[in-house]
């Protein structure tokens, strides 16, 4: 994060603009973001990952096989082939092409990451908005509930959910989505409390606007940038959580290629087939790194004065 | 001569270009003298003081000239030797009393730090000295207040603490950067009064940096007027107030609200704005705001002229032109 007072006078000027014109926040963010090389790199990687995921997904929908091999086709005669020209990343225990599986896994990781965040975001924003705007008892009840959830380590909570619900993509999304609700609720509540006292919100109240309208029209646009940053970083957390569940054997149902699940399987073969362990790990790290880069960039762009929570 | 600044140039290297915050300025301060440096914000007066103290932060850098303290070139001193000088012989008061004190240290610890550092006193003696100096700057029940944290004090009190800190080691030169700007008018007067008293008591020189000519008239012996990193005019305080020569100085003087002036005239304002430091006019930096600007002013930089000890940078007073514009 940047110093409080930048030596560049224009940056200070921009910070001032945020306060005055909330609706131009996203645009201004984008402008600043473009200056940030790391964030652009992150965005670029995410773009590539998204293209891979979409291509794989669409071709699957159309019933075409565009990956070098069918990622889920087990061929026991090809078990554990070392990386070579045909199988760039080698094959796994069941003779499946690791390269194809890792590309295929992009689809799952991004999908779980984004949808899980969407779930926690939606519920968290609603909870946080109600708590922050209504205040009083409602606030207390909601935030206490959030405190309780926070008091249980999220990975344990997710494991318990998965153990109860059983394995599966949908269940993993729900488990990961549920456990990070409190974080969003807290952030949104905090942001709302800080803008609630602003003049234009008061003005809207005096003019008799409905509560929901005030939240939607006046308060949300002001907290949206905070949420965007959090959600971006949230995707990276969700991808890591998915991998952790997969690693513990609680992730998706077979034969889906999920990176954490691949790592979990590879664990028994760290000496005989280390390539089955290296590549999925790299794939996870790169994906998480990309979202972290973008998230950091967004945060800096949003507010040079901001700090890590 | 206590301090001599010779052709000092300080630049800020920014991505979009180089800003000359201080551009080739020279001046001196004598022992026990109060020199006021006046200018609007961005005129380079604070940068001048930071350059003298060696406290410039990146991307700022002294790129030319020399600074002599007691005839010693400060640029030849090592870091350590400079640190010995700072806070000891040359000390400084900053303009933001609210933020210039360390919020998590007790007042006494902040003052004692510099006493113990420079005067090599024991802890006990340092504390005694601290309380003494706090009393000197007019903090009531100093022994108790010394245990306070900055946030427990008012702005005026904090500025007194700042002053006490600066005076703690009996400096010979005190640089006071807008010491009164952030304060109430009544407190302002008290602080200025304090500075004046301290000058008398310890016979130290003061470099008073301010944008407020009112303050100058009350305290200073000599005045330098800066604009866009350049000295525009320099004279003793009486001469400058009675006979300002530069149109900029004249403008500044006109914009002081005068209590005895009961006319209904609106307060004078210099029209226009300080030029963008990255895009300076070719000629006199004040040319685009000057009511008496001439063709030449926009093309050529006037030189600083010394007219019987009254220095001025303006073509209106160019010796070759022979003219001298009177009000």
């Amino acid at each position: 994060m940047e110093p409080k007072y930048s030596s560049n006078p224009d940056e200070n000027l921009q910070a001032a603009e945020y306060v005055e014109k909330p609706e131009s926040q996203l645009k201004a963010m984008w402008e600043t973001l473009r200056q940030n090389k790391a964030a652009v790199a992150g965005l670029f990687i995410i773009g590539i990952l998204a293209i891979i995921a979409l291509t794989v997904w669409l071709s699957e929908l159309m019933g075409k096989q565009i990956l070098p091999y069918d990622p889920n086709y087990a061929d026991m005669t090809k078990s554990f082939i070392k990386p070579n020209a045909q199988h760039w990343f080698g094959t796994d225990q069941l003779g499946r092409d690791m390269f194809s599986r890792i590309l295929d896994g992009t689809k799952i990781s991004l999908f779980v990451g984004v949808t899980a965040v969407a779930i926690s975001l939606t519920i968290g924003v609603i909870f946080g908005a109600i708590a922050g705007y209504r205040g009083g008892k409602t606030d207390t009840v909601i935030m206490r509930l959030m405190d309780m959830m926070l008091a249980i380590p999220s990975i344990l909570l997710a494991i318990a959910f998965m153990a109860a619900l059983g394995k599966g993509l949908d269940k993993a999304i729900i488990a990961i989505g549920l456990v990070s609700i409190p974080e969003y609720a807290r952030i949104v509540r905090g942001s709302i409390l800080s803008v609630k006292e602003n003049d234009y919100v008061h003005a809207a109240k005096i003019m008799g606007n409905k509560t929901s309208r005030i939240i939607y029209k006046h308060i949300l646009p002001n907290v949206i940038s905070v949420i965007v940053v959090r959600a971006t970083l949230g995707v990276s957390t969700a991808v890591l959580d998915t991998a952790a569940l997969g690693f513990l054997g609680l992730g998706v149902q077979p034969p889906f290629a999920e990176w954490g699940d691949m790592l979990g399987r590879a664990r028994g073969f760290i000496f005989s087939a280390p390539y089955t362990l290296i590549f999925p790990g790299i794939a996870i790290t790169i994906t998480v790194l990309a979202f972290n880069l973008l998230g950091d960039g967004l945060r800096d762009a949003l507010d040079p004065k901001s700090r890590i929570k | 001569m206590l301090l001599e600044v010779k052709n000092l140039t300080t630049e800020f290297k920014l991505k979009r270009g180089i800003v000359k915050a201080v551009d080739d300025i020279s001046f001196t301060i004598d022992k026990g003298e109060i020199l006021a440096i006046v200018g609007e914000s961005g005129s380079g007066k604070s940068v001048t003081s930071l350059s003298i103290m060696g406290l410039l932060q990146k991307p700022g850098k002294v790129t030319g000239g020399q600074i002599f303290y007691k005839s010693q070139d400060l640029s030849t001193l090592s870091k350590k030797e400079l640190q010995k000088l700072r806070g000891n012989q040359i000390s400084m008061i900053f303009q933001e009393p609210m933020t210039s004190l360390n919020p998590v240290w007790r007042i006494k610890d902040q003052i004692m730090e510099s006493i113990m550092l420079h005067m090599k006193l024991s802890k006990k003696d340092a504390l005694a000295r601290t309380i003494e100096i706090l009393e000197t700057v007019g903090i009531p029940s100093a022994a108790q207040r010394a245990n306070d944290y900055p946030h427990q004090m008012s702005g005026g009190m904090r500025q007194r603490v700042m002053t006490a800190m600066a005076l703690a080691c009996n400096p010979e030169l005190l640089i006071a950067d807008e010491p009164t700007t952030a304060l109430d008018v009544t407190i302002q007067a008290q602080i200025l009064e304090l500075l004046y008293r301290m000058r008398e008591k310890f016979h130290m020189a003061v470099m008073l940096i301010t944008h407020d000519l009112g303050v100058v008239s009350e305290a200073a012996d000599r005045v330098i007027v800066m604009y866009c990193g350049k000295i525009m005019e320099e004279a003793d305080v009486r001469t400058l107030f009675n006979n300002p020569m530069h149109p900029y100085t004249i403008g500044l003087l006109k914009s002081i609200p005068q209590i005895d002036n009961d006319s209904d005239e609106r307060l004078y304002m210099i029209k226009g704005m300080v030029p963008n430091p990255l895009n300076m006019p070719k000629g006199c930096p004040f040319s685009d705001r000057c009511e008496q600007s001439m063709e030449r002013c926009t093309q050529e930089m006037p030189q600083l002229q010394d007219i019987d000890g009254h220095k001025v940078r303006c073509f209106l007073h160019d010796a070759k032109e022979g003219g001298s514009a009177k009000q």
Binding site: P153, A160, A163, T285, V288 | V104
Partner: protein, 338 residues
């Protein structure tokens, strides 16, 4: 201050109640039946039914909760279905291992995080800064279990430098006084045991510390950059304070305030991270054990662990807030609302 602390401690009650209800619901309503696992390969349907009856699993859920609650209030958290040992005993025999690991990890993370963060801030945009920040970024992006396995492959598998699993060579194990082997072995004056325990700690603690270290490094850097721009730092320099002292005594003391919060929060999250680290390194702690118990539907143990962890979480938050007040004289809790 005391009133504030008491008030905060009282808050523990609703949190624990809520947490226990959440866990109760997840485990007892949705989780699979533990009986076939407990009773083993030869379990008959009748035996399963009888076992459920004896263990009260056929009661309505609110009654089960009531029984649990009244038991818990008298300090009885029940017995593990699987080992038939009291839950408290099961937890306490593993808990010191996790705490020892977490504390060593947080010390590593804080030390390296703060040092790297401070140097990065002071030498902003230098090669050190860029390298440090890149490592920190990788640190927060790497799955902890993957890092752990890579460490094992390198330091145990290839180099044979360090043990890959366990806490100590069992024959060197010191008498359990505190349960922390580093301390116990020192108290017993057994240096072999001390160094053996230390060698066992290095890899898991490093793996566990990596993420926190990365977070602390980033936080320290930004906090220090912020602080170093403050006016009072300029004041200190103007006083002639040497630069090293300016950084350590003036800037770090102020910059430390947000860092302490982060360290406190990290200590909480380390308990979560311990789940994966312990699994990878066969560390005999509470994390891996809890996962096992969740998967075996050993309800009483899971409930007990979660209560313990939630208590720690609340206490950690309180301690962080108190340290905060200690570090920052501007904060006073006595009048403030919770």
């Amino acid at each position: 201050m005391l009133r504030y602390i008491i008030k905060r401690l009282l808050m523990l009650i609703p949190v624990l109640l809520g947490v226990s209800i959440i866990v109760f619901l997840i485990m007892r309503v949705f989780s699979p039946d533990p009986a076939p696992i407990v009773l083993g390969q030869h379990a008959t349907q009748q035996a399963v039914a009888a076992w459920r009856q004896v263990n009260g699993l056929n009661d309505p859920i609110y009654l089960q909760y009531y029984h649990y609650l009244t038991g818990a209030l008298t300090g009885n958290l029940g017995t593990s279905y699987y080992t038939k040992l009291p839950v408290v005993k099961e937890i306490m025999s593993r808990f010191p291992a996790t705490i020892e690991l977490a504390i060593v990890a947080i010390i590593l993370a804080s030390f390296f995080g703060i040092v790297i963060g401070v140097i990065s801030a002071v030498k902003k945009n230098s090669i050190f800064d860029n390298a440090g920040m890149f490592i920190a970024l990788i640190g927060v992006s790497m799955p902890i279990f993957w890092l752990g396995i890579l460490l094992i492959i390198l330091f145990s598998g290839a180099l044979h430098w360090l043990p890959s699993n366990g806490r100590i060579n069992p024959l060197l194990e010191p008498a359990h006084i505190t349960g922390f082997f580093l301390i116990d072995s020192l108290m017993a004056g057994n240096m072999d045991a001390f160094f053996d325990a230390l060698r066992h700690l290095i890899l898991p603690a490093s793996a566990l510390a990596m993420y926190s270290m990365a977070i602390i490094t980033r936080m320290t850097r930004s906090s220090m950059l912020d602080t170093l721009q403050q006016d009072f730092i300029r004041t200190a320099r103007a006083k002639g304070v040497p630069e090293g002292k300016v950084v350590r005594k003036h800037a770090l003391r102020n910059g430390l305030i947000p860092i302490v919060t982060v360290i406190g929060l990290q200590l909480g999250s380390l308990l979560g991270g311990a789940v994966l680290t312990e699994t990878v390194f066969s560390w005999p702690g509470i994390g891996a054990y809890t996962v096992e118990c969740i998967l075996k539907s050993d309800f009483p143990v899971v409930q007990g662990v979660v209560l313990l962890v939630a208590t720690i979480y609340v206490l950690m938050n309180l301690i962080v807030d108190l340290i905060y007040a200690f570090l920052d004289p501007r904060i006073k809790y006595s009048k403030k609302e919770v």
